[in-house]
């Protein structure tokens, strides 16, 4: 019986790069996500620094000179009603963020709850939730939002009600996504093992399934924020927003009703449009990036 003399094991430790390095490396592969986060970070910095330095009163009518093109004093110009558009952008951006985060958060939360209930308990509950979702999905959401916003008293339309209007018909998407994901998770072996070991329903939901779903929930949340910003923007462009507030869509509505282009005040509609492109573009990039993170199957095959 001969033993093979093994050379003394060399103690080479594999250097695990730090967390930050790994995140940076992933970002280099997933460029869309990185660019999206960068733009969003820039917008946040603009809003936060702006909120600290401007006088929010200048975002409302009759607080600045009228119809001045961009200059040193007014970097974004002023509008027909005497709003400093720089202040209006800062406040409008902040309000857009509030609507997006609030509506996106509530929509995702409701979607996650309904999706879990529907998939986990199945049977009649599942059938009814699914049917409601299926009936509501083909109805153009914007149209119903027009009815709701139009029926409200103008004084009742605030940033908060805008968020609520948007969220009322926005939970179906995340519900269906989470439901289908939970349905596939439920059949996995680790859930069966947990069940056999006597873990309670709630324990399985929160300790076993939820952690696996986090990337999907994050993606659904970003998608919801995108949809909420988009919807509130469209409503405001139609003149159904809180008309006094310098919401980005309101500025465009006001510019359009005063014939800004016909009168040569080009900066008035252009500045909120560019801001909106940056917001929606960064959210779309982050959403696509998260999709890639959550769903390796859609990773680019190029």
């Amino acid at each position: 019986m001969s033993t093979i003399a093994l050379p003394p094991a060399e103690t080479t430790r594999i250097e695990q790069p730090g967390r930050a390095v790994r995140v940076m490396r992933y970002m280099r592969r997933n460029k869309g996500l990185a660019i999206g986060i960068l733009i969003l970070f820039g917008l946040t910095a603009f809003t936060v620094i702006g909120l600290m330095t401007i006088n929010p009163k200048h975002a409302y009518p009759l607080s600045a000179a009228l119809k001045k093109p961009p200059s040193w004093r007014y970097p974004f110009g002023t509008d027909f009603f005497g709003r400093d558009l720089y202040a209006a952008m800062v406040v409008g951006m902040w309000q857009t963020a509030v609507i997006g985060l609030l509506a996106g958060g509530i929509g995702t939360l409701v979607g996650v709850i309904f999706g879990f209930i529907s998939a986990y308990f199945s049977g009649k509950i599942d059938a009814s939730i699914r049917t409601v979702c299926q009936i509501l999905t083909p109805i153009p959401v914007l149209m119903i939002q027009v009815v709701i916003a139009g029926s409200l008293d103008k004084r009742d339309v605030t940033i908060l009600t805008m968020a609520m209007i948007v969220v009322l018909l926005a939970w179906m998407g995340p519900t269906l996504v989470i439901r289908s994901q939970v349905l596939t998770m439920k059949e996995r072996q680790f859930v069966a093992v947990a069940k056999l070991s006597g873990v309670s329903d709630l324990g399985i939901i929160f300790k076993e399934i939820m952690p696996c779903l986090l990337p999907f929930i994050a993606a659904a949340f970003v998608a919801q924020v995108f949809a909420a910003v988009f919807a509130s923007f469209y409503l405001a462009v139609l003149g159904l927003g809180p008309l006094r507030e310098p919401l980005l869509g309101n500025l465009i509505w006001a510019a359009q009703s005063q014939g800004a282009f016909f009168n040569g005040w080009w900066w008035w509609p252009i500045i909120p449009s560019v801001a909106m492109i940056l917001i929606l573009g960064s959210l779309a990039l982050i959403n696509m990036g998260l999709d890639e993170l959550a769903n390796p199957r859609v990773r680019r095959t190029e």
Binding site: Q134, L142, V146, V147, G150, Y234, V237, M276
Partner: protein, 332 residues
């Protein structure tokens, strides 16, 4: 498609229309706004009649609109009216009914929608298919990239940017309106040309706003199709690249996109309406814009319901047509 499936689809369509009408019926009645009082109060303020007359007028109008009936009774009549596509009278342009107003502005909207949807569907799908096709020349594949970057830009903002660059800066095309101010609509070539000129920017805005979505989904579809056995087989048979692209690759990748078209309809129509309003074209969008400004509630609700029903109908239509295009799902 079996008869049973067809009946189920139709029942679903009825259910969707019923749900939409019910929402549109009950939401305004939950609010404390009184459309009639607002409209006639406004007229009373601008002069014309005394406050005592105001109450009388409101009472008689309420009777005429059936608003003095119990709620459930109103609901039943309302549902009956919806079936007959009767959305009541416009408050702002009173003697005309909402249906008449819709019929007047519908051709404009349909024209714009049809042209832009078909064009962006074709352009987007071709570009997407080419972008995923490894044998295509590099410059052709790269043409898809700018459109993908535009995906996040809503058509409305696209419209504003186009107005700014092409209309305002370069002065190539008009800034808005259906035809030049001071021109009398006639059946002449010069008028048709003028009208067409005013349609270019809105159409471009809608096309640029939606091509990116088609490019993205088609590219994804194309990548999956390339791995299929029948594409491999076609290559080994020695078919020409063009033939494989057209008959084996494009045809199969295009089918799911048609379902996508049905799903996108709601968004497409919503965008078209807002873009129309922005340009002041005399379509449904402009009508909705005016109705919102004038607090003309019956018109707002009528337009909303009409669009909802149209979208639901079109979606069902696509579902019925689909099995004719794709024989594989005939029996499933």
């Amino acid at each position: 498609m079996t008869l049973k499936l067809a009946i189920r689809r139709l029942l679903f369509l009825v259910l969707v229309i019923w749900a939409a009408s019910t929402i549109v019926f009950f939401i305004p009645r939950l609010s404390n706004r009184n459309a009639l009082r607002e409209r006639f109060g406004e007229l009373a303020r601008t002069g014309g009649f005394s406050p005592q007359d105001l109450e009388k007028i409101i009472a008689s109008m309420q009777q005429q609109f059936g608003l003095d009936q119990p709620l459930l009774h109103q609901y039943w009549t309302y549902l009956g009216n919806i079936v007959r596509m009767d959305f009541g009278y416009s408050l702002y342009r009173y003697p005309s009914t909402v249906s008449e107003l819709i019929a007047q502005s519908l051709p404009w909207t349909i024209g714009l929608l049809l042209v832009t949807t078909i064009l962006s569907f074709i352009i987007g799908n071709l570009l997407g298919a080419v972008a995923a096709w490894p044998r295509a020349p590099r410059w052709l594949r790269l043409t898809a990239t700018p459109f993908i970057l535009l995906t996040g830009v809503p058509p409305v903002i696209m419209a504003i940017l186009l107005i700014f660059f092409i209309g305002f800066r370069l002065k190539w095309l008009p800034l808005g309106g259906a035809y030049s101010v001071g021109i009398v609509p006639t059946w002449s070539w010069s008028f048709a040309l003028d009208m067409l000129k005013h349609q270019i920017l809105p159409a471009l805005a809608l096309i640029f706003g939606s091509v990116g979505g088609w490019v993205l989904s088609m590219r994804g579809m194309g990548i999956t199709i390339q791995g299929e056995d029948y594409v491999n087989f076609a290559e080994h048979k020695g078919l020409t690249g063009g033939r494989i692209f057209r008959d084996y690759y494009l045809r199969n990748a295009l089918l799911p996109q048609i379902t996508g078209l049905a799903l996108a309809l709601g968004t497409v129509i919503g965008s078209a309406i807002i873009v129309e309003g922005l340009f002041g074209l005399p379509g449904i969008g402009n009508m909705l814009n005016l109705a919102i400004r004038a607090n003309d509630f019956p018109t707002i609700y009528g337009i909303v319901l009409f669009i909802t029903i149209a979208v639901a109908l079109l979606m069902t239509l696509v579902e019925f047509i689909y099995p004719l295009l794709d024989p594989r799902i005939k029996n499933s």
